[in-house]
Symmetry: C2
Subunit: 337 residues, 2 copies
């Protein structure tokens, strides 16, 4: 039998990535698009377009969508998305009808955590948390080889735990959410504020964007940190410290064996993770009297989400195939009886 492939998609606050994924979690082909964040219809069009493009070159059996939003327990509907326009959106059925392929929808961080557990940093780790720093913070839990989805499917929204009373306003509508202090958005905001203050430490940064502060982004700060710019390094120390405080809180609640840090901001590597480890240790309750979780960077980078979404779609297809075979056998037995 010829190998059939799965398309995985990762739909974040600003972009969509799609890829052809094989059974071993390898990405064999890739496409990218923009997320038209204010229109569910346009986002759906982008998904269909990317799958069609990949489908013209590969034999696609099913599709897994990792979406930056609250996905219901049936893995069909996006209930709410802080950074996108979805509100009670029946995404799976809409896309399935247009593609005429089996589709599953999963929270993007859940998909990424699944990939890290199956193919990445957390292989063999049975108590795992994922913290993905992109536009916001995505979170997920894998416990005993199963995604912990909660009662209604929306567990793992770590980014919207309130860590500063009356703090920064969050896109979710609350104030003081963790993702307002440890995410790509937070890094950009802090960098722009630093530049706006026109401090001597920010002069290199201001020069890099030719004085146009709106051009300051997370990736630029990461690049400058690697070049040794002290202000950029300090900005990562601040975000890393907040990351560590939040991880200490999660360890108090979940007591995991490993916390995998992923998402675009994690590309800064130790500039982010070293201060996060220090702050996590310093704020962990019972420290010194308990085993502590490893804090590790993603092994799959920004493809974790699409790899996980594809792998979950493949598992679901296998489950349905086994179920149909079973039903067929039960039917044959029933006729014979």
């Amino acid at each position: 039998m010829l190998e059939r492939f799965t398309v995985g998609l990762d739909i974040g606050g600003t972009k969509v990535v799609a890829g052809i994924v094989d059974a071993a979690g390898n990405v064999l082909d890739r496409r990218r698009g923009e997320t038209p964040s204010k229109s569910p219809q346009a986002t759906e069009d982008v998904i269909v377009e990317l799958v069609a493009e990949l489908g013209s070159r590969w034999d696609v059996a099913s599709v897994g969508i990792g979406a930056a939003g609250f996905v219901d327990a049936g893995r069909s509907n996006v209930l709410f998305a802080p950074h996108l326009a979805w509100r009670r959106e029946p995404l799976r059925d809409r896309v399935q009808q247009r593609l005429r392929l089996p589709v599953i929808v999963e929270n993007d961080a859940n998909a990424a955590a699944w990939a890290e557990w199956r193919f990445g940093t957390a292989r063999g780790e049975d108590h795992l948390l994922c913290v993905n720093l992109g536009t916001g913070i995505g979170g997920a839990i894998v416990h005993g080889g199963v995604l912990y989805r909660g009662k209604y499917g929306v567990a793992g929204e770590f980014g919207h735990m309130i860590v500063v009373p009356d703090g920064h306003r969050c896109e979710c509508g609350n104030r003081g959410c963790w993702e307002q202090y440890a995410s790509g958005n937070a890094l950009g905001r802090e960098a722009r504020e630093l530049a706006a203050a026109d401090s001597p430490v920010a002069q290199t940064l201001i020069a890099r964007v030719g004085g146009d502060l709106s051009r300051i982004t997370g990736p630029l700060i990461a690049e400058m940190a690697k070049d040794g710019d002290p202000a950029a390094i300090e900005l990562f120390e601040d975000v890393g410290r907040w990351l560590g405080i939040g991880i200490a809180n999660l360890c108090a609640a979940f007591d995991p064996g490993c916390v995998v840090v992923g998402g675009g901001v994690s590309e800064a590597g130790e500039y982010l993770l070293a201060p996060a480890r220090v702050a996590s240790r310093r704020n962990l309750t019972g420290r010194g009297y308990r085993p502590e979780a490893r804090i590790e960077r993603t092994a799959l980078g920004n493809e974790a989400g699409l790899i996980g979404a594809a792998d979950l779609a493949r598992w679901e297809a296998q489950r349905l195939r086994r179920w149909s075979l079973g039903a067929l056998r039960r039917g044959v037995t029933a006729r014979r009886a």
Copy 2:
């Protein structure tokens, strides 16, 4: 066969309660003692004494201890206890040797959550969190009929999640832990501060303790709230609001179907729970677009911990019995073969 019973013990920051528990979760006899918080040896003596007293009147088969501390995955050792003197204490083996009965040790909030799931408010609920407001805050998770213990056994330490950066100092060594804002200790501290400010609203409170502010306790405030004292009602509103904010955070992370609020402070009932429900709803991310957890008061009151500890000991004894019977049968089969 005559029914044999289990002793359950609940060891909190200030007192020890012990009871004879039957298979249906009924408490048939009770004893109480003080917790000598600064001496592990003395705490152990109290445990042994209470079990011996009960054992002189009942046929005791096993003992379950719910302890206000971090209990390891083997349910043997108390690794750390913020409100007691235990540090890497081999509690199970010590007590077992002295009692010559099978003993299990479990975190007190885990024991209480188990009881609520088996016999109490959360019967039939498969995604449950427990938040117990006593000296501090104990927390626990029951997921799919199993206690979620985390990798190393110490999950559910919700009380030590940091909710106020650089906030009140906590017994665990950190600052700003949730239990510094929503617990019996927090209620007492706020009430004493209010009285110390000598405000007109605090005059009834000051009179009730004859001017001796050190006599202000949580139970007194609860009593005064029931008598309609506006200051006492406001104190519960403040603690209830913090309780709700923390519950909203937990719902973001765990997405449970039900949150059971127990512990001594929960005896204030709606004075505590009504403001907690309002604050939880107001601070829940994605509110209006997701199903929400019920927030309910314990059905078992301050006996939940001892009932759960006893029931867990009973389950463990049954598991061992089945295992021994199985081993016996396997032995017989092996000899025949």
